[in-house]
């Protein structure tokens, strides 16, 4: 009973949706609206910053940025890496195998400067077996060249001393004389692949030969006085040699004049 009445009631209620008596309602309404000022569109803060607006703003900012990044227009900022700050290292210099093979022979070469100590036995310092072997290997002429006594051999490191070792294929050879308590140590380093030899490197140390010799005479480091004394001694010897030469020449002239006068 109720359901039938309800369906019937709904049907009857729908029939109420008829046009109301028109009259002059709309005319009065439009006339009244014409007197009203233009409505002002008020945008409240809640409208401007509601979630949808925030999403639209973010999308408008991020989507073009992402698109530009996608085509490689710009890259997101990143802290400068160490590679960008520090210049790239030069490719490592490949050390020839010969250097690796020759390098152990540098130790005897360095020790050979101390050979006069062993040979002369002035300081009585015991020679270690490698040092002794190195001294024996260079031979007597080299031993004499390395010793302090022969003044006629100005070359401090003769070719014979390095004869055991093949010439190094070093680049720029830098000889470093380290005046420590143990005596001078000659080290060779290769910085660039140039062709050179240890012999040329040894020649580079020739101005320091008196210092080396002076240092080689003992275990103490060479002092300036020792070097100056050696140089003065060398100059004295030069003068004596020149004087001997002059005397010899004068003697020959005198003998010649004596022979000529006798004819």
């Amino acid at each position: 009973m109720t359901l039938i009445l309800e369906a019937e009631l709904v049907d009857r209620l729908q029939r109420l949706r008829t046009a109301p008596p028109d009259g002059t309602f709309e005319d009065r309404l439009w006339a009244r609206l014409a007197e009203e000022p233009e409505p002002v569109r008020v945008l409240s803060r809640a409208r401007r910053w509601r979630p949808r607006t925030v999403l639209i703003v973010l999308a408008a900012a991020l989507v073009p940025a992402g698109a530009l990044a996608g085509v490689g227009y710009w890259r997101p900022w990143a802290p400068p890496s160490l590679e960008a700050v520090v210049p790239a290292k030069a490719p490592p210099v490949e050390t020839p195998a010969r250097i690796e093979r020759v390098r152990p022979s540098l130790a005897p070469a360095a020790v050979s400067l101390e050979a006069p100590t062993i040979a002369t036995g002035e300081t009585g310092a015991p020679a270690s077996p490698p040092v002794a072997r190195a001294v024996q290997s260079v031979g007597p002429s080299a031993r004499g060249a390395l010793s302090v006594a022969p003044e006629e051999a100005p070359t401090p490191i003769p070719a014979a001393s390095t004869g055991a070792a093949p010439p190094l294929a070093l680049g720029r050879v830098r000889m470093q004389v380290d005046g420590t308590a143990r005596g001078p140590v000659v080290t060779a380093t290769a910085n660039a692949p140039h062709t050179a030899s240890l012999r040329g490197a040894a020649a580079a140390t020739e101005p320091d030969a008196p210092r080396l010799r002076a240092a080689g005479a003992g275990d103490r480091p060479p002092s300036t006085d020792d070097v100056e004394g050696l140089r003065a001694q060398e100059r004295q010897q030069e003068r004596e040699r020149a004087r001997e030469v002059r005397e010899g020449v004068q003697r020959r002239e005198r003998l010649g004049s004596d022979n000529g006068g006798g004819r």
Binding site: T2, L5, E6, L9, V10, R12, L13, Q14, R15, L16, R17, A19, P20, P21, G23, F25, E26, R28, L29, R32, L33, E36, P39, V40, R41, V42, S44, R47
Partner: protein
Amino acid sequence: MRPHIDSVRRFAFSFCGSWSDADDLAQEVLLKAYRSIGAFEGRSSLSTWLYTLARSVFIDSRRGRQGRSREREQDLDDQLVAEDGDSQEQLLVQKDEVERLWRAVRALDHEFRIPVVLCDIEGMSYEQVASIEGVPIGTIRSRLSRARGKLAELLRRASSGESGTHAVETSSNSTGRPAA
């Protein structure tokens, strides 16, 4: 806004006793909507926003207009009775039927009246009415079901010997619930 004018007028008529009062109320609602159209944010449809505004205006003005509407109703009844003739008699029957329905609708409390007017008369959806009322859809369904039952009871009592107007008026005076 023009397509909603007739609906607003009918909605206003459910709160008034005469079409002239309903027109005044509808005009007030439409003017208010025109002035505050800038506040319409588009989160809902324009009809929902408009009926929400009309609802608040109607409920606020209901008390002041209630007594005057009864007088207007009496005037309408007198006008209908004064006309004469066969066609007029048929028209009277139809108008009496319409008026009885409207009176029965107006006899309901506004919480039951609004779902009946908007859903059954204007054909709005439950969701839209729930948005206008600010209540869940289930509440609208419940209110609508109860409102239909009350309407059926009011119409049954009005057609059973008693004068429809008197029956509706009696029930309207007793908190909108049908008299036992």
